[in-house]
Homo-oligomer: 192 residues x 2
């Protein structure tokens, strides 16, 4: 049910929280010490879809630990949020909130591109994974990655990919990702 | 204006054809011999958005020259089409039609993922580029690539990427793409 944010905006989730129930964490290959899961991510932590109220819970500040965010107003945030929400099955931005401090402390995105090939299939991409500095070392990045990797086929992805820097290749290998022979990632940038 | 397809379906474009007018082909770096452009792609050829009626114009057969398509019914095609269309600014699937034979002979996709980072920016991806066998050697793949590369920043993409096999690295370099140091593309497949 929608609740009100501090600023009186409706606190709408980006996608139906029930979709996260499709994650069968018993199928997860990774080992956790101490044991955490999507349902029990740790003390005061709650795993859920990004919500409109996360503007007030430090979501953009969190992203700025990953890359350039820029000056994004509440209206710009809300407009982008609603644009994503209008795209059904397209954006599974998932966050971990510390419910005591009401801060978003980690996030990862499963972005889904629908296609006509592969029997009107879809391909997923892991994007924008970040854990707030003071929450690192608590297996939260791993937890988000396991969750989104388990979720991807449940929402129709026949394949899932990501790009990462050299030191992270081993980390992502543990979730089933590999570098393929004869596959090259090429990019061009128009602005920062 | 919408027109009727053979089967009486409205021939809706996937995106507003005016968006293709944002392409300033004079900014294109590539040389064409003979000279073709987005406005004049060659005899009887017309560059336009994918449309709902392209189910009857061999669009899926064309894609099957690229990869596995599977058995996609007209309803499945239409459902996927409308799902993409509901996602504003998300899917710029562009085709070349031979207006004489009413066949779709080439296609390329600019898929756009909107983000909160980079001042609520967007990143584009080139996907599913294919030219029908009997139309190869007519610079049509190059034309589609130039068009979508010029379009990407116009629709808000701060960066544009693609994945390709080894023999195509040189080809894509000519459009401004490059392999970046310390960037790895990793993938996992759940089914074919």
């Amino acid at each position: 049910m929608d609740k009100q944010t501090e600023n009186g905006m409706e606190d709408t989730p980006l996608f139906d929280p029930k979709i996260l129930d499709l994650i069968d964490f018993s199928k997860c290959n990774g080992e956790y010490k101490p044991k955490i899961s999507n349902k029990n991510p740790g003390d005061n932590l709650h795993l859920r879809p990004l919500s409109l109220g996360d503007f007030d819970r430090g979501f953009l500040k969190l992203l700025s630990e990953l890359t350039k965010v820029g000056d994004v107003s509440q209206k710009q945030f809300a407009d982008r949020f609603h644009q994503m929400k209008a795209c059904p099955g397209g954006y599974f931005i998932t966050v971990l909130e510390n419910t005591e401090t009401q801060e978003v402390v980690a996030t990862a995105t499963l972005a889904v591109e629908t296609k006509f090939i592969h029997s009107t299939g879809a391909r997923g991409r892991i994007e924008d994974v970040v854990v707030s500095k003071q929450y690192r070392g608590k297996q939260l990045g791993k937890l988000l990655l396991d969750c989104l990797t388990l979720l991807a086929p449940k929402v129709g992805c026949y394949k899932l990919s990501l790009e990462c820097k050299d030191p992270l290749v081993d980390f992502y290998s543990t979730f089933g990702f590999s570098k393929e022979v004869n596959q090259n990632y090429m990019v061009q940038r128009f602005w920062d």
